[in-house]
Each structure stands twice: as structure tokens, then as C-alpha cells.
């Protein structure tokens, strides 16, 4: 007699995020505002997609990507090649629960492939405010991760922004992990991806908590230098 062996590992991933009910919980809002960084709260991703059948208000299908321009704080759902290859976006939120976040780089694999984007991304295990400078060009290029998603996937060196537990099926953002980025236009910045769950709850235990709703903050140095100091 066979045991049921199923390729459901990731299905699980998202059970948690199947989000179909409204919650009335009071969520403690942490203070991310430092006066110079931009904080985005609950930016809705493709909330109509699901990884499973039968979830109210959702359809089982691949998630539509969206794109975000940091300076303009602008979200776009235009996935035409012309848009993807432009510098009108810096971050692409893709794949399962939009949680795989690419920078806009024209030279490698990724949504910006073939375009002019100069995007880079590396991970630092340090609190956001303690990250004060971007590395030199060469080191940055060498260590470029191209994207940040599930920590350790698809390869062991793919440092991500969340840990997905195969036990709880919850995505847990990794604390004190900051990403240093270069924007599509070549400016340096830092980015903290804070949560995929609506309201940025400090700890999610409910598989059906509404998602994906992104909370993140960033700072882009406009003078072109590598200085990333924030209060």
C-alpha cells in the first residue's frame, strides 16, 4: 500500500496565506518612520490568486507580478516587455504570493532582462538603521543576488527575506536582515521587507490571515553616493 506522497510542500506555503476572512484583531504598529525613509504599509499584491481551489474570492492560478518604482512610490501591473525593460520600476514582486522580489537588472535572468535596468541587491545581517553604506561597485556586482525571496531557495546561498516553515506553513520575515540595493537608475539604497501579511502583525499563527499585503521601507540616496545613513 502506497503512502500518499505529494509534491505539496509549497502548497502548504500558502495555505497560510489563503486569506479569506476579515480580521478585527488589533495589530500593534511598530514604528518604522525615521524621518527620511519611506514606509509603505499594506501594499496589496495579487490578492485574487490562490494556491488552492475553493478559497472564497480567489482563483487558483499563478500570481500576477507587480512592479514598484521607489522614488515615485508607484505600483504598476503592466507586464508588457516594454514596461519591464524600462527604468520605470525598481522592484518586481513576483511568483508565489508575490513574495519573490527582484531588482530591475537588464543583464541577468529576471523580469528586467534585456532592458537598461542597473539594479543590484545584496543581503546584510544587520538592523536597517545600522546599515550606513553601500559597498563598492565590484563587490556589489559579485555578490548580487538578483532577488530576495524564501531564505535558502532555490540555492543555499540565496539569502532571502523570509523563512518558510514546513511545519507551520507560515512565512516568517527574518529580523535584522537588510538589503542594500541599486535602483534601475543606478542610485544606491537600502530596503527592509517587513511583512507579507495584512496589518504587519508581529507574529502570525492564523493560516488564513489576509495576504499578500506588503509592508516595507526603504531609503534611496539621491546624491549618487554610497552613503545610506538614516536616523
Amino acid at each position: 500500500m502506497y503512502k500518499r506522497a505529494q509534491w505539496q510542500w509549497l502548497a502548504a506555503i500558502l495555505l497560510l496565506t489563503m486569506a479569506c476572512k476579515k480580521d478585527d484583531n488589533n495589530v500593534t504598529k511598530l514604528n518604522y518612520e525615521d524621518g527620511v525613509s519611506t514606509v509603505i504599509y499594506d501594499l496589496a499584491g495579487d490578492t485574487e490568486a490562490s494556491v488552492a481551489d475553493g478559497v472564497e474570492g480567489k482563483e487558483k492560478r499563478p500570481f500576477r507580478s507587480f512592479y514598484f518604482k521607489l522614488s515615485a512610490k508607484l505600483q504598476s501591473w503592466d507586464s508588457s516587455d516594454a514596461f519591464k525593460q524600462s527604468s520605470n520600476w525598481d522592484l518586481a514582486f513576483t511568483d508565489i504570493y508575490n513574495a519573490l522580489v527582484y531588482v530591475n537588472n537588464g543583464s541577468g535572468e529576471g523580469p528586467g532582462k534585456g532592458g537598461a535596468g542597473k539594479g543590484l541587491i545584496i543581503a546584510v545581517d544587520s538592523a536597517y538603521s545600522k546599515v550606513t553604506t553601500a559597498p563598492e561597485e565590484e563587490a556589489f556586482e559579485t555578490e548580487n543576488l538578483r532577488f530576495a525571496g524564501w531564505d535558502g531557495y532555490p540555492q543555499p546561498y540565496n539569502t532571502g527575506w523570509y523563512f518558510y516553515s514546513l511545519n507551520t506553513h507560515l512565512a516568517v520575515p527574518i529580523k535584522n536582515r537588510t538589503f542594500i540595493i541599486r535602483t534601475a537608475d543606478g542610485k544606491y539604497g537600502k530596503l527592509e521587507l517587513i511583512n507579507v501579511y495584512q496589518g504587519n502583525p508581529p507574529a502570525v499563527t492564523d493560516l488564513f490571515w489576509p495576504a499578500p499585503y506588503f509592508t516595507f521601507r526603504y531609503f534611496v540616496q539621491q546624491d549618487g553616493s554610497h552613503n545610506l545613513k538614516t536616523p
Binding site: 505539496q8 510542500w9 502548504a12 499563478p62 524564501w150 531557495y153 546561498y157 511545519n167
Partner: protein, 257 residues
């Protein structure tokens, strides 16, 4: 004199075949060698970890296999050159070569000199793959394409430096991966509306080059991760049972005839 010569021969033979165990008697015995010469071999239903569950707490046990000798190698031999490919992590779907110098590798610290590479032949690919949607145009994928992809690889197409050592081959374009050896139908797109067909893995007609731990070359095609390689697996089909064919050159030759 004659007796001692025979003894010496026996001793040499023993030390050649299982010298790791000899150096370290605590290592488990190895299964019998089934491959002794260069050639093409098929491995049916190589047993992966059928106990671990993606939803459970256990991680999947790695399966180590020797292409050179045609046998499963116990994990106590991870840091030796006894194995050539390892099937690791979720549903044993991450395929490593044995390289002792790599930062990330199950053979780290050992003598393994291996590497791995996925050959994507665009002429074969365009006969079954839908690049716009990053999935097969239809399934099942014709067996003849599997054979065509395998047969078309007549030589190792890359240098040793281009072989992957710090990482593994995995699923095609899934959550950040690039070209892979199998399509994971996470959403059941190949059979819309049929939830029994979600989370099925379809192996693709793409040939894998393996440099063995000892530095020889092999090519390999994986037919299925399901028990008895059914044409139409679904979510209930027993897995992982890995079925593949490979050609091994035991003399360092990089061409395959």
C-alpha cells in the same frame, strides 16, 4: 611465492574497491557493484525518502548514488569519492554532484572532483516547451523527445569551470530558479479544474552532464520521480522513486557514442 602473490592480488583488489571502509571500519558495508565498464545503464525506481512529508517536520534524507559502480551509497560516505550524484531536499528533487572544494555541497571537505550541468537543447525544447508561460505545451511529453535529447548529447558541451559545484539542479523556473530538469505544476495548469493534477512533477527532455567524483564523465536523463514511471501521474502517485538512464565513461573520455 605463488600463494603470497595471490594474497597480494586479493589484498589490492579489496583495498581498491572499498578502501574508505578499510580506513574507517565504522563505515557501513557497501552494496554490490553492478557497473564495472563504460556503457549505458538504466536505474529503475531508485528509492528516495518516501517517509518524509513536506508538511511534516522531518527533512528528506539524501540519496547518494554511484554512477561509476551502479549502487546506492550510504550517507556515512558523503565526504568520500564513492558517490557521484546525490538527490537531496524536498522530494529528493535537488540534484548535486560530488565536489569536496565547494562551499555548499554534500561532499564538502572530501576528495570529490565532480560537477553537474544541465543541457538545454533549444531544438528539442521548442518541440514541447511553451516559453511564454514557462511550462510544457502539453503533457505527457513524448518519450521519443527524452531519447532525442539524450542521444543528441555526443560530447560534454562545457568546460569543467562551467560545471555547477556550489549548488544543485532543480525544478524549472520555480520561485527564483532558472532552467531546470523538471516542470513542477504547482497550480495544476496542465489540467485546469482537476485538483488531483496539481503539484505534479513532469521530467523534461533535458540531458544532465555529471562529472563523477573521480573525474570521469557521464550523461543522464531522468524519466520520472514516480513509482514505475506512470505516463499520467497525479497527486496520489507514490514518490519519490527516481528512474533514469545514463551513459558513463570510466576512462575520462568526454564523448558519448
Amino acid at each position: 611465492m605463488r600463494i603470497s602473490f595471490i594474497l597480494l592480488t586479493v589484498f589490492l583488489f579489496a583495498s581498491c574497491s572499498d578502501n574508505d571502509k578499510k580506513d574507517n571500519p565504522s563505515l557501513p558495508d557497501l552494496p554490490a557493484v553492478t557497473v564495472t565498464t563504460s556503457g549505458t545503464y538504466t536505474v529503475n525506481n531508485l528509492l528516495g525518502d518516501t517517509v518524509a512529508r513536506a508538511g511534516g517536520s522531518a527533512s528528506f534524507k539524501t540519496v547518494y548514488y554511484s554512477l561509476e559502480d551502479g549502487r546506492v551509497i550510504p550517507d556515512a560516505y558523503a565526504a568520500t569519492d564513492k558517490w557521484d550524484i546525490a538527490f537531496a531536499s524536498i522530494y529528493n528533487s535537488s540534484i548535486w554532484a560530488n565536489n569536496g572544494t565547494a562551499t555548499y555541497n554534500p561532499g564538502k571537505g572530501g576528495p570529490g572532483k565532480g560537477g553537474i550541468y544541465l543541457v538545454v537543447d533549444s531544438a528539442v525544447d521548442k518541440q514541447y516547451f511553451d516559453y511564454e508561460n514557462q511550462r510544457p505545451a502539453a503533457v505527457p511529453i513524448a518519450q521519443s523527445l527524452m531519447e532525442a535529447a539524450f542521444n543528441k548529447v555526443t560530447t560534454v558541451p562545457v568546460t569543467d569551470e562551467q560545471l555547477l559545484i556550489n549548488g544543485y539542479l532543480t525544478l524549472d523556473h520555480f520561485n527564483g530558479s532558472t532552467d531546470g530538469y523538471a516542470f513542477y505544476d504547482f497550480y495544476g495548469q496542465m489540467y485546469p479544474g482537476n485538483s488531483e493534477k496539481a503539484h505534479v512533477v513532469y521530467n523534461l527532455p533535458r540531458t544532465i552532464i555529471v562529472k563523477t567524483a573521480k573525474g570521469n564523465y557521464a550523461k543522464l536523463v531522468i524519466y520520472s520521480f514516480y513509482k514505475d514511471s506512470p505516463v499520467n501521474p497525479d497527486i496520489h502517485t507514490a514518490a519519490p522513486y527516481i528512474t533514469f538512464k545514463y551513459t558513463i565513461n570510466k576512462d575520462g573520455d568526454k564523448t558519448f557514442n
